[in-house]
Amino acid sequence: MITAERKPMEELTEYVKNHDRILLVGCNECVTVCAAGGRKEVALLASALQMDAMQKGKTLDITEITLERQCDPEYIEELTPHIDQVDAVMSMACGCGVQEIARRFKNTPVFPAVNTKFMGASERQGVWAERCQGCGSCLLGLTGGICPIARCAKRLLNGPCGGSSNGKCEINPDLDCAWQLIWDRLKALGMEKQYEEIIPAKNWVSGRGGGPRKIIREDLAE
């Protein structure tokens, strides 16, 4: 999932300081799962914004709505009946959702309520960790199913560096050394030989290096 965390209240209250009618929009997908921008978080933020405003001598008219997805125009359309009744939209979705709302509604300012963090997985209840950087040409098949781009601090394709110690990364003792994990897994699979194959310099064109990316499925595209 795409993970996110709510921005500091100070930043959020600054965004809406000149707006009284706010459409606060959650998303039912990733940010719901990582407890950053689902229905519950929308309600909490609405209450927090309201209480902040009350201390400044006003009340806000906050409309709470949580869409099935904010990254699809069909769902964004559900905001249309509300948009003329508000001064601003605050989105609790990832950056994709914020931008979709901005694209659809040209005359209403849209503010992000969360910081979009990374593509990750849930390690345990309440803990999410980075797993993928969307490089566009997956090499997990060479690295035992563990991504060195997302999980090595230096994203070494031929690690580990000299700072791996007791299976942990030199920059943070709470962080697993990705290459220790890769090696352990290759060994468990009897694929030690794979380690000695050099992974050549990566072609970053498939990633962000090639500029903003787009996927076009001819059979589906209209």
Binding site: A153, K154, G163, W183, E196, I198
Partner: protein, 307 residues
């Protein structure tokens, strides 16, 4: 010969090579680099010039190398993949070679987390092994990494680092083998304090015959005090300092600790001279360059060969 490198000539001649290190200043102060170079001039076959070591901004390795070259030393251009992408690294290699710098050391570099710009992005377009491949392609095929031909390709003698003490230990020989397959010519190791463990690693190296494919220079760093020894043990990632070493230094009076550190250094060199596969020594006296001549002399590594 792959290059005009003096270090290569010494190593090919079969004599023990000696390299040392000098860290460029944190300012536009050529005098500092020149003073350090002067100390090392007649004692080391080649001198590494670090590249923003520990992720702290310093005068560029390339610029400092030029000063050394002008003074008649043989600088080793260190290059970390942390700060530059493949375009920037290749252009620096061309520039360095044009200034007569013919030896380099390929590293991934310490993470910015440790330095004075922890907010900087780490580039790591390539890793150290891919950097080795790139420099070798430039030299042997006369081509840029992107495939185009180079006018007067830089003939670099290619070095890399190895840390026999990092984890997982069982990978350390395999990783050296990867560097050899990538095209490395010589290796400088992490500072050696745990000689037993180093010998164990070297056994793994010689068992696979890797010492015949690469020149290995054993890394030596003198300890100034028991405090430094403890710091190296506890704070420097990938450093293995046995407790006996710390105790040995701590057991002599404060004033004599530096001398004890030098003594340990010299004993280490003497013992490592006997280890199969050791082709020389890389003596890194961190901000203590004035001690290097003494160590080299007392370790019986003088005079340096003229090649």
């Amino acid at each position: 010969m792959k290059s005009e490198s003096v270090l290569e000539k010494v190593l090919v001649s079969g004599q023990l090579a000696v390299t040392s290190e000098c860290g460029p200043p944190r300012g536009a102060v050529p005098e500092i680099i020149k003073e350090k170079a002067e100390l090392l001039k007649d004692y080391a076959d080649a001198v590494n010039v670090t590249d923003n070591q520990t992720a702290m901004v310093r005068m560029s390795s390339f610029a400092a190398c030029v000063f050394l070259k002008q003074m008649g030393l043989n600088p080793i251009l260190q290059m970390v993949t942390r700060d530059r992408n493949r375009l920037a690294m290749q252009s620096d290699i061309l520039g360095a070679y044009a200034h007569g710098i013919d030896t380099m050391l390929c590293l991934s570099g310490d993470h910015p987390h440790f330095g004075d710009h922890p907010e900087a992005i780490n580039v790591h377009d390539l890793d150290s092994i891919q950097l080795i491949q790139m420099v070798k392609t430039m030299r042997d095929e006369g081509k840029f990494q992107g495939g185009a031909d180079i006018l007067n390709p830089p003939k670099m003698f290619i070095g890399a680092a190895a840390n026999p003490f990092a984890d997982p230990f069982e990978l350390r020989v395999a990783r050296l083998s990867k560097k050899i397959n990538a095209g490395v010519d010589f290796i400088q190791t992490q500072c050696i304090y745990n000689i037993d463990k180093f010998e164990k690693w070297m056994k793994g190296v010689t068992d696979r015959g890797l010492h015949k494919k690469v020149y290995i220079l054993a890394g030596i760093t003198p300890m100034k005090s028991a405090g430094m020894a403890r710091y190296m043990k506890n704070k420097v990632p990938g450093m293995d300092v046995p407790d006996e070493i710390i105790k040995r230094i701590a057991d002599v009076p404060q004033k004599k600790q530096a001398d004890e550190g030098i003594k340990i250094c010299i004993e280490t060199i003497q013992r490592l001279k006997e280890v199969e596969g050791v082709s020389g020594f890389h003596i890194m006296a961190i901000e203590w360059e004035q001690k290097v001549p003494e160590i080299i002399e007392q370790a019986g590594l003088l005079p340096r060969p003229v090649v």
